[in-house]
Subunit: 473 residues, 4 copies
């Protein structure tokens, strides 16, 4: 056990799933988490309620490896919540796996959180000063301590108090012995959808989880909504002041699964293909073949090929057998980098002018290696096309981006980046093009990673390092 | 330890890799096996030689999970061979993992085998009658016992004797303290290629392994060739009577990786796309969209779309996080079948006439589920297109096919199969179309699974069950 | 993870060890815990401080199995505390292993506790009502929460406040980044000794831990003493009202190791032999041979044989290879009971009048099986002699005794017990005899298990079930 | 997997157990092995037969840790054999765990062996030259290969042939689908007893295994006897030329459990006590107290004290919690040696003239450390007494002794040894005294370790290094 340190970097991506009122709640949750596995592969957990007690199992690793039949059988009862998590903070301890479960004065409670609380550090200092002892480095734990120290009498009021004090992005599921609560922050940064499976209520980060269990999509949990589910049915509250609805545009670009519908039913694949079409309109190039960086670049590549009329081919093959512990062998065999995951098909590429489509470009190092690989396979020209604008700022609302300093586009022009990645040309989608592509979704978005405009004020200790970097621009 | 039983069903697919003369031989082999992981995910192993002794590590599971840095460090020395294996015989014991290693009168020897020996059972009975004790259920072990009981004086002559007695498909690597030997059966059923990495010699089932380690492809190990590699260089022998060169056509259709070149340099992706083009020519249908069953159906779908002019879309999303121990939950949640792996994107499919392209159709049950999924997503018509001919016979040369009885096309017409899988239409590629598509490879092939013509006679105990089934045609 | 429940039964035995100022503090602690393994075999843990941070490793199982060289190397720094634990509360989770480590407003702190706090449940309810969230079911955690919620400014004052609020038995070690604290409750129920190893300070439950590491015994931590150890040396405080010194007499009878000196230097073996001599004086019987129930009955048997003049023999052999997971095979092979651990030597016993000496008799079931075994080996008479008085009450200060109801002597006469265990005669040591045997120790004792007189008042929820049982006598 | 090497040193001690005709054969065998655990703690295994197939489980470590309920349930059928093993050859691989199981031309067979074959290396070379492939480094495997290559028609004749070719010590159990065979070499070096449990036959190395399962001792398997047990009952054969009966005297001195009766019913404890009495007669010394080196020295110490009239005390405490992986911490804390296992009680020893009784003295290093420990505890004089003669030669029949060179008594006088171990005096039992003590057993013995007279000729490659050493005496 390494001692805990205050979270200094938002580096956590997650998926959450819950079911209330199903005889096989933990089995359903297992499947739901499996469908949401792309949202976090580092750790996972399920907590069930048998109406008297909670039962929990958490583990490092993939859902399919973490749960056995015996474990699922022990997770008894008709309701359950689950969580998958990815973190780059190096805090790879099962202590930080969710759902987080405690016993406090009102009984047992579990919480699963997708998002990031920007004032968690400040609240933690305050709570510790009054005697609270934290068990983890998770910002999520702050919510439970606020509930525990609240002087309110009911669970509902305690949760309202706690969420009234936190700032940031949260799609939440809470489970007590008798009920389940879904909540979404007033800005609605992260997706959260309500579904129905026979008599049971389902809540999930994305609708692809509904598809697997054959549940029906009902509606999104609304921004600022607290939805209480128990044997008396649903009770919805909106206790907080209304805020602009600013869902995360990056869910469409990269994070969500293409077969999901998010943010009131917009299909991710369709929007991603639109991004590719807009990109082809904005950054046309005369070429022989369009290839995608698999898997995430495929939908935009399809759109790009359609719009440009250039033929689409499979030019890069992805090896999915990475396993949990791939070793990059030391010494003379170095720097395999993306070669571990990707290989070029020279028969497709040799002597061709190639357009390569990827969803985003963060540090530039991966693109540089991909372009080298394509050139080695014999391409005569390599044109990089990115189906989103330059990433210039870090996310503080739940997407794991590097610090601003590490984002190549925060300090370099497109030409400079093109030279760095050694492409013959580099084209990004414009912010306007981005909005055209997603307009079918019909809402405003958080686009802070592309614009630096954060819809929710960041506390000083979070924003200051950013400001220093801003001044350097 | 379950006691051993004679192999009654050829159910083993494998990949092999070897390196001679590299300071980090086991690291190189680890990477090579990782690139060949698609040829077998059940078990893997590496044996190295430090010129005095062999060192071995074998394990169930994926390459990336089976080897740690410490394990690789213990696999000392400048030469190594490795093996990945998949088996449906239920014999999931690490005892049957390869390379197989023994000490016998001539010293230590390891063997890694891709293929299937059709007279292994007969030879085993004979060897046991004279006192040999087998350690595994692998047909491969027969070769070592033949070498051990040979009265020849040299390793080369013992191996020639042993391979002279076995019948069937073998691409082999053997490792002794001082040398490495590559061998390929006279028919050349399975691929095996020779490469060069600086001063080291590399041998691998497919060239995708060369790409990862940046080795250069030199040539194939020839049918009937025994290639001895030691500090004096290469020595090639062809001690056996020449046989027709009949490489496995199914490597092109399904088994090999699209980025590999096999059988004297033919690119798998290109041929697979040709299969799709021929399929479009032979089995055209008026439709709105072409989608692939990912991942193996993608190249043929690209070809089909190109040839037919119907737009290609991503209509099915594949979840790659299956893990090692996925549980299909029992009781009320049943029969998820392909839903665990695939999900349809209804925005792509709804109201559309859909062509679905897959590489082969074995039992029909998976296709039936995929078509149901596509219909549930709203397709108005579903037309199944298979980029190979009907599979009517089992393979006895190293591809894991079910028994003839289980092959739906062995006893049903195309119309019957179409009704079973509930497609609006079903089209297979013809055998002629198949040969047009692969003609660029310029060789004859083993197509027994599609024609029932086995290029190498099968012993009675193997062929008889088949013959009984044949009579039912 | 099973949810936590309030501790309803004191069922925990422990050993603690600490070192301050040694370059290999965690190695030393590992050895110290190994020497104290008899005080708890269920879980163990070590926390070290590198003067900036704490490092912890806890595990179920034996010390020798729980720590590897790598683990010990990670437990960096010149100070460390450790804990071994046995519990019958069924709470076999590593969550309840100690030392307990948290980060709170004053930094990092670890605590290791031997004893039992009788008002922990009341304090926990109170702390939870004000918002504290407990991580474990350990009474020990109460102390940390009291420290965290204290309004005092310094660590010393916070600890004084916390210990001022708890009631019960505690020998404690606390470790912070900069210092180590040893504390013992005002009654001094459990042993705790201070030693010296070159420049380092050592604290241990028993002196046998000093012997292994070749440390010198300095003195006991005194009842009611708080001893602060840091780079400035030792600082002793006695902030609490003085209480009668009532160390646990059962440490001499059974719990401590025979080679230890406890409670100001009294040797356990010598006192245990005295118990046997007094027993021989009080309960003489004409017999052929004295045998011990190994290992704990051996010293008293030696004393009994010496005093009585009857020859001592090895009549029962103990199998020490019990391992961690011994399965008592089901079905027809039942009720092996003590046979798994003990076997009689019939050549020693056959035809003989046998005196069997054991240290205590709790439920009577084990004695009954031992006597059956001795009779089956051919004894003509079996006389049971117990080197302590009848156990009539449960311990609430840190010895794991069953509930009063399960103690056979709480509701049966000696004659009834003798009939139950099928002995020809049964003799207990009297309370007077007990005090004669231990008089060399020169102090008063807690003898509540034999007399029902509890030196420290028990809270109502603890004492009431006892009172009901008392009235039944 | 480390490659195999020919066994160059007999370094293996074992226990074997078998049951035929009991509904819970594997459970019974588990208990039997547990009782024989003192004969080998490194690895263990059980093979059962369900009358059609054998089922096996082998593991490193203790019996109680190696078998779970699930594992035992899979070991189906009414007969089973088991094995525990200790080896110092460093060959700590589960490959060398027994029972050894193979499939050969006559079906499945398992073998469990206690003893050592002196011509195994020669036979192995011969068998390998004719094509046999060995799976392990065990001499035991030779027997199976001899059976497999035999030209005899029946199992009985094949086994007779095989045992007719091996030389050395063997107490054997073999299991086939239909029967169990017990065999003992003509010299009867190792014990092997036949018992009865209801309708089942039991065979075990020592009778303590009968006691645990409540089986009745019937008789020893006789020297040179082959006992076939199947559904038709027992069939005994003695196909070999008679040899002098020379059971191992060291079983009495050290190896067997004190509660066992071996070699036709002689109780080990009684003989061990006799050894102590003879030792007291031969090597009297004026002293205050007799203490044993626990646990093996205790019976002789009891005898010594009885005969000498000097009082017996517990002066050394043994820590039994050594676990499987005890680390002796490196760097400054060195050379704990025996302190890990033993601690002296200074209250017993201080100012006293102490007689310390141990069963044997091999290298002298342990005794030296024990004497240092006793002196540090305050003894005024330390007199070492060994209840066997000086060990001057290695055992080649199944006891793990170091090489002759390492045996201090092979090259030093008693005085020299006494100076080396720093005792005030050292006394060994004489060979005559040894025979007086064991005379109740009424047989001749192998005493080669004390006399250098080997009852069975050793092959040249084994004996020659010995002869060279002899000439140096």
């Amino acid at each position: 056990m390494k001692m805990l340190t205050h979270m200094d970097k938002p580096g956590e991506e997650c998926g959450i799933f819950g079911v209330y009122g199903h005889p096989e709640a933990s089995n359903i949750t297992y499947l739901g988490l499996y469908a949401l596995q792309h949202r976090g592969q580092e750790s996972c957990g399920i907590v069930s309620s048998d109406m008297n007690h909670l039962h929990a199992h958490k583990s490092m690793g993939l859902v399919a490896d973490a749960f056995s039949e015996d474990v699922l059988k022990d997770l008894r009862g008709p309701s359950a919540i689950g969580h998958v998590r990815y973190s780059t903070t190096g805090d790879t301890s099962v202590n930080n796996a969710q759902p987080f479960v405690v016993e406090y004065s009102m009984g047992e409670i579990a919480i699963a959180h997708n998002g990031n609380l920007v004032n968690a550090g400040i609240l933690r200092d305050e709570l510790e000063a009054y005697g609270s002892i934290f068990q983890s480095g998770m910002d999520t734990e702050t919510i439970i301590h606020l509930m525990a120290t609240s002087r309110e009498g009911s669970l509902i009021n305690r949760l309202t108090y706690a969420l009234g004090r936190v700032r940031g992005a949260y799609s939440l599921l809470l489970l007590t012995e008798k009920g389940m609560i879904a909540a979404r922050d007033p800005n609605g940064f992260r997706p959260l959808a309500l579904g129905r499976l026979k008599d049971a209520w389902i809540v999930a980060s994305e609708t692809c989880a509904f598809d697997l269990i054959e549940a029906e999509y009902i509606r999104d949990i609304e921004p600022g909504e607290l939805l209480f589910i128990d044997n008396n049915g649903l009770e919805s509250r909106k206790p907080f002041e209304e805020a602009p609805y600013t869902p995360c545009i990056f869910e469409f670009i990269y994070f969500a699964r293409p077969d999901s519908k998010i943010f009131d039913g917009a299909n991710v694949y369709t929007i991603r293909k639109n991004l590719g079409r807009e990109l082809a309109r904005e950054c046309h190039v005369d070429a022989d073949v369009v290839i995608a960086v698999p898997d995430s670049g495929v939908p935009a590549a399809v759109g790009y090929a359609e719009q440009s009329g250039i033929q689409l081919q499979v030019g890069l093959i992805r090896n999915h057998y990475v396993g949990r512990t791939f070793i990059e062998p030391k010494e003379t065999i170095r720097h395999f980098g993306v070669k571990i995951k990707l290989n070029a098909i020279s028969d497709v590429i040799k002597g061709k002018k190639v357009v390569v489509v990827d969803d985003s470009l963060v540090r530039g190092t991966t693109s540089r290696k991909i372009i080298k690989m394509i050139r080695n396979a014999g391409a005569s020209e390599v044109h990089m096309r990115i189906s989103s604008p330059p990433t210039i700022c870090s996310c503080f609302y739940g997407i794991d981006t590097p610090t601003k300093k590490e984002l190549i586009a925060s300090s370099h022009t497109v030409d400079e980046i093109s030279r760095f990645i050694t492409s013959d040309s580099l084209g990004y989608l414009s912010v306007d093009g981005l909005y055209r592509a997603v307009e079918s979704a019909g809402v405003d978005f958080c686009d802070a990673c592309f614009t630096g405009v954060y819809p929710l004020e960041l506390p000083e200790n979070v924003i200051q390092p950013q400001l220093r970097l801003f001044s350097g621009l």
